[in-house]
């Protein structure tokens, strides 16, 4: 997978470089340069064909749609990764706190129930032990 991604990256870089060269070429166009421009345009199409050939090799790569919002907004997509990681950590801490709270609640409930219903709780504990 990584090799196909590397290949795709190389192809994209070649394509971008070709586009850049065409950009420079046409910004101050010389009459004798038409033939070169035509050749570069054909190269551009060949580049696109090469990129298209790699399509099947990267089918398994999943990109979150939210990243496109960052890119379309002219923002660094690494900010998305950063936001995701911060959110994940916050959620992890929240769930951890919730689990902790439930554990404490269970312990307190068992203690209180044992005070109020001692016989039932003894039976309950016996049943639980049987089940586990």
């Amino acid at each position: 997978m990584s090799s196909s991604l590397d290949q795709l990256e190389n192809q994209l870089e070649t394509f971008i470089e070709n586009v850049r060269q065409i950009g420079i070429f046409v910004s101050d166009f010389q009459p004798q340069g038409q033939q070169v421009l035509n050749q570069k345009l054909q190269n551009l199409i060949t580049n696109m064909q090469d990129i298209d050939k790699l399509r099947n090799a990267v089918q398994e790569v999943h990109v979150p749609l939210e990243v496109f919002e960052y890119i379309d907004g002219g923002r660094n997509p690494q900010l998305y990764t950063k936001d995701c990681m911060e959110k994940a950590l916050t959620k992890n801490e929240q769930v951890n706190g919730r689990i902790d709270a439930y554990k404490r609640f269970k312990a307190m409930l068992l203690v209180e129930l044992s005070h109020v219903f001692p016989n039932e709780m003894t039976r309950y504990r016996a049943v639980r032990e049987e089940l586990s």
Binding site: S27, F29, I45
Partner: protein, 238 residues
């Protein structure tokens, strides 16, 4: 008002369990033939068939199977993402897209909807094409250009690659032997140095001025320049 609420309360008073015969008490009332005590579930058929584990206690269920990996674990450490987390949160990530793709030519920091070139639109309305084919002579004729330079506003392609990066390097320039700091303290020392240099320059200027004045005084008193007054700037220069 109180009466009304009392009435309402009375009308809502549950006379039987909302779960009906699922209650173990109700089961006892129905006197099932379960003398062994092994029947610990109720199977209800009908529209929504279900198996309800009643057990010896009302609503008692089997304890939930605990997953090995829960939110109680440090998931960041579990998936070996701590390094990435520190990388992204430790230093300030630059906001612009051009800082992520510094080698990409052209202006890429403008919102894509302004230029109608968003990636989202590419997904929502994918272009219809069969395959890429090389252009024939007729199609290439469409790309015949007029000689001459482009208007100024279309010349962004001329920007040399990595120009932005160079600018950034200049901004964070530091002397050899010094380590660049993230909090910008390095810039602070630079500023201090600049101020110091400015002061030095000012001192030099003052010294030069004094020297000039001394020279002028000498010339004034010398017999070679008899009537040259310092108040005439046009002549001083000559």
């Amino acid at each position: 008002m109180n009466e009304l609420t009392r009435k309402v309360d009375a009308s809502f008073s549950p006379k039987s369990s909302p779960r009906g015969s699922r209650s173990p008490m109700a089961n006892q009332m129905l006197s099932r033939n379960d003398s062994t005590g092994t029947l610990k579930m109720t199977i209800s058929a009908g529209k929504h068939p279900a198996v309800v584990h009643s057990g010896p206690f009302y609503l008692m269920k089997d304890p939930a199977t605990e997953n090995e990996l829960t939110g109680a674990n440090n998931l960041m450490a579990h998936f070996n993402l701590e390094h990435s987390y520190n990388k992204f949160t430790g230093k300030k990530v630059r906001d612009s897209l051009s800082s992520f793709l510094p080698t990409l030519p052209g202006i890429i920091d403008t919102p894509a909807h302004l230029t109608n070139s968003s990636l989202r639109s590419l997904i929502e309305k994918p272009p219809v094409f069969k395959e890429f084919t090389l252009l024939n002579q007729h199609q290439l004729a469409a790309f015949r250009l007029h000689p001459g330079p482009l208007p100024e506003q279309y010349r962004f392609m001329n920007q040399p690659l990595g120009q932005r990066r160079h600018r950034r390097h200049r901004k964070h320039k530091y002397r050899p032997g010094e380590t660049p700091t993230q909090d910008g303290s390095g810039d602070g020392t630079d500023m201090h140095e600049k101020k110091h240099k400015k002061k030095k320059n000012d001192d030099d200027k003052e010294r030069k001025k004094k020297k000039k004045e001394k020279k002028k005084k000498k010339q004034k008193h010398s017999p070679e320049h008899p009537g040259l007054s310092s108040s005439d700037p046009s002549r001083v220069g000559l």
